[in-house]
């Protein structure tokens, strides 16, 4: 049976407005089949001029431990997350680095993007701290395109490393 979504994405950010920003960017506009059909007949627009993007199921967490809990739950349900966006500064609990460390302990395949408004750590410090260099940094303020690109690139990377089991 095919899932209703292609990938699961996790957003961990203490700022609700940033969470909404991610949702806005990653939630595709639903295409109405009837209108698409009519558009073609009335204006001669082709159905296929827009790439069909993967469907994402997005979960939100505002603190590191909460995010970790969701990752563990997803593992248990065998529906792991493909990508997580993690804010670097999330008082009062764990910061981004700590959160990522904890997540990597339970899920080695997850692709992680660190979001910073300014840098508490440099990239070098971050990878030294995490002993891991497959991290991407997303600087705030970010653009829609950046987030989309990262998401689609990382989901395909994740898929390549985790071919769907039959």
């Amino acid at each position: 049976m095919k899932n209703k979504y292609d990938f699961r994405i996790l957003i961990i950010d203490d700022n609700p407005e940033i969470q909404q920003d991610f949702l806005k960017i990653l939630t595709p506009i639903k295409l109405n089949a009837e209108i698409t059909n009519l558009d073609e007949k009335l204006f001669g627009e082709s159905k296929h001029n827009k790439p069909q993007l993967p469907l994402l199921q997005i979960d939100l967490a505002s603190q590191g431990p909460e995010g970790l809990m969701l990752v563990k739950k997803a593992q248990k349900e065998h529906k792991p997350y493909a990508v997580a966006f993690v804010d670097i500064r999330m008082p009062p609990s764990w910061d981004g680095i700590q959160t990522i460390k904890e997540i990597f302990k339970v899920d080695k395949n997850i692709q992680i993007v660190i979001c910073t408004a300014y840098s508490d750590y440099t990239w070098e410090e971050t990878i030294t701290e995490l002993k891991q260099n497959n991290l991407l940094i997303l600087k705030k303020p970010f653009d829609k395109v950046e987030v989309k690109q990262l998401t689609y690139f990382l989901t395909s990377k994740w898929q390549a490393a985790n071919p769907p089991k039959k």
Binding site: D14, N15, P16, E17, I18, Q20, D21, K24, I25, I29, N32, E34, I35, L38, D39, K41, L42, F43, R89, P91, P92, A117, Y118, K140, P141, F142, D143, K144
Partner: protein, 476 residues
């Protein structure tokens, strides 16, 4: 006749009135002779002891003078009836006179004083003569080379036999101490500046984070608006109108029977909902944009106030300052921290807005961090209460966070001391210094660990802070 001679006469049995026998006479002579010898001996002893004690006196005097010289301390007496000043040798050294030069008069001394000290000194001297009041003053006296030396002068009025006052006292050269004090002051001012810069950069980091987040949402809102506009079905309506225009005269026929025209009505019905959604989206995003931009403006204007370097004394409203500090301190609602203020009844005061904001920013940030670190408290709150007591304004910033151990209550104000994991230990230090500068003080109260803490800022009302120190500050 001398009593002693009468006694000698009696002892040898002689009388004044009659000549003695030879035997008695010889006895008498022997006695008198012995007396003279004893007197000689006594005189010798007295002369000797006088010599010894005057030598001792001289030695003592020398020691005293030497001690005065080492201490750079002179002793003086001033009698204003006779208009005579007498003083120890060291006083000559202190004002750079040769020891054989004549003593200056009181008027001459006044002329040697620094003009800023002259009036106060003269006033104190007069008061001392009139009311018998002792005084101590630090004065600058011009020496022979025209350089000013700092003297600490202590005067003590005493009464002479006629019951009139004369002054005696000491003077001590404190130029070196004054120089050291100046150096300390300078260092302190430099320290204050660097502390302030560090605090500013902390605030800047905070602001950067806040603005970064808001800018993010602003950016996304704009992109969403652009996307809606780009994909908007409104364009389709324009297309439809253009499609219908050539058929204006027979529009009913076109809509009912034309192959394309037949689709127009179903199309309009279908996009009705989408246009409504687009409209709602534009409305939401644009109002969010407005909200975010307003927030950025507020942060920037709060920052502007902090960024002004110079000290300006002005009439300040306490509630404005505290609100500003809260705004700059970061998020509270999300952390479930309630802020209670009771500051409305306080009159405005003359002070430095910038500096006051800095103190409150520090206190509120500390309270916030203390509450963040305190996991046990369910109802986290910060209370800011202002009261007036005896012409002093007291503002108390209290939290029910981690509290302060008794031993640390004063230590927390010292430079470099911090109980926080990532603390640098100059926030409270600089706040306390600023409070002092504003003529007030800052102290802490806490019942102990996990029992919350209060910081109390006391400021004088109706009294402007010392302008001099503020001007001094400006020059740095």
């Amino acid at each position: 006749m001398h009593d002693l001679l009468i006694r000698q006469l009696k002892k040898t049995g002689l009388s004044e009135s009659s000549p003695p026998s030879l035997q008695n006479w010889l006895a008498f002579l022997e006695r008198i002779d012995r007396t003279y010898q004893e007197a000689d001996q006594e005189r010798y002893l007295i002369e000797r002891s006088m010599l010894i004690s005057s030598n001792e006196m001289m030695e003592l005097n020398e020691k005293l003078e030497n001690a005065q010289h080492i201490a750079q301390l002179g002793y003086w007496i001033y009698d204003n009836q006779q208009e005579i000043i007498t003083w120890s040798k060291e006083m000559h050294h202190l004002i750079g006179l040769d020891s054989n030069q004549t003593m200056p008069t009181y008027q001459e001394l006044l002329d040697l004083l620094h003009q800023e000290d002259r009036e106060l000194f003269h006033e104190l001297v007069q008061k001392s003569f009139n009311e018998g009041e002792a005084f101590e003053i630090e004065i600058r006296l011009k020496d022979r080379d025209g350089k000013f030396r700092w003297l600490n002068l202590i005067a003590n009025p005493q009464k002479n036999i006629n019951g009139e006052y004369y002054l005696s006292g000491i003077a001590m050269d404190i130029s070196k101490r004054k120089q050291a004090e100046e150096q300390v002051k300078k260092t302190q001012a430099q320290l204050l500046t660097s502390v302030r810069r560090a605090a500013m950069s902390e605030v800047a980091t905070h602001i950067l984070h806040n603005i970064g987040n808001i800018l993010n949402s602003t950016n996304i809102s704009i992109e969403m608006i652009q996307e809606v506009l780009k994909e908007s079905k409104i364009k389709k309506i324009i297309h439809l109108m253009e499609m219908m225009k050539p058929h204006e005269s027979a529009i009913a026929d076109f809509i009912l029977h034309d192959q394309k025209g037949k689709l127009i009505l179903p199309y309009l019905i279908n996009i009705r909902e989408i246009i409504q959604q687009e409209f709602n989206k534009l409305l939401t995003e644009s109002s969010q944009l407005k909200h975010h931009i307003k927030f950025i403006k507020e942060i920037i204007s709060a920052q502007n106030i902090l960024a002004s370097k110079s000290s300006i004394l002005e009439t300040v409203t306490l509630s404005d300052i505290i609100n500003q500090a809260i705004l700059l301190s970061g998020e509270f609602q999300k952390l479930n921290i309630e802020i209670q203020k009771s500051i409305s009844a306080i009159p405005s005061l003359i002070s430095d807005k910038n500096k006051l904001t800095q103190i409150f920013l520090n206190l509120i940030q500390n309270a916030r961090e203390s509450l963040i670190a305190c996991k046990a408290v369910s109802h986290k709150r910060i209370d800011i209460v202002a009261t007036i007591k005896n012409n002093f304004l007291q503002i108390r910033v209290s939290d029910n966070g981690v509290g302060i151990a008794k031993d640390n209550l004063t230590k927390i104000f010292s430079f470099g001391f911090s109980t926080k994991k990532n603390g640098h230990g100059f926030g409270l230090h600089s706040s306390a210094l600023i409070a002092q500068e504003l003529g007030g003080k800052l102290h802490a109260e806490s019942k102990g660990p996990n029992q919350g803490a209060s910081f109390i800022l006391t400021l004088p009302l109706n009294k402007t802070p010392h302008l001099k120190s503020l001007l001094h500050e400006k020059q740095i």
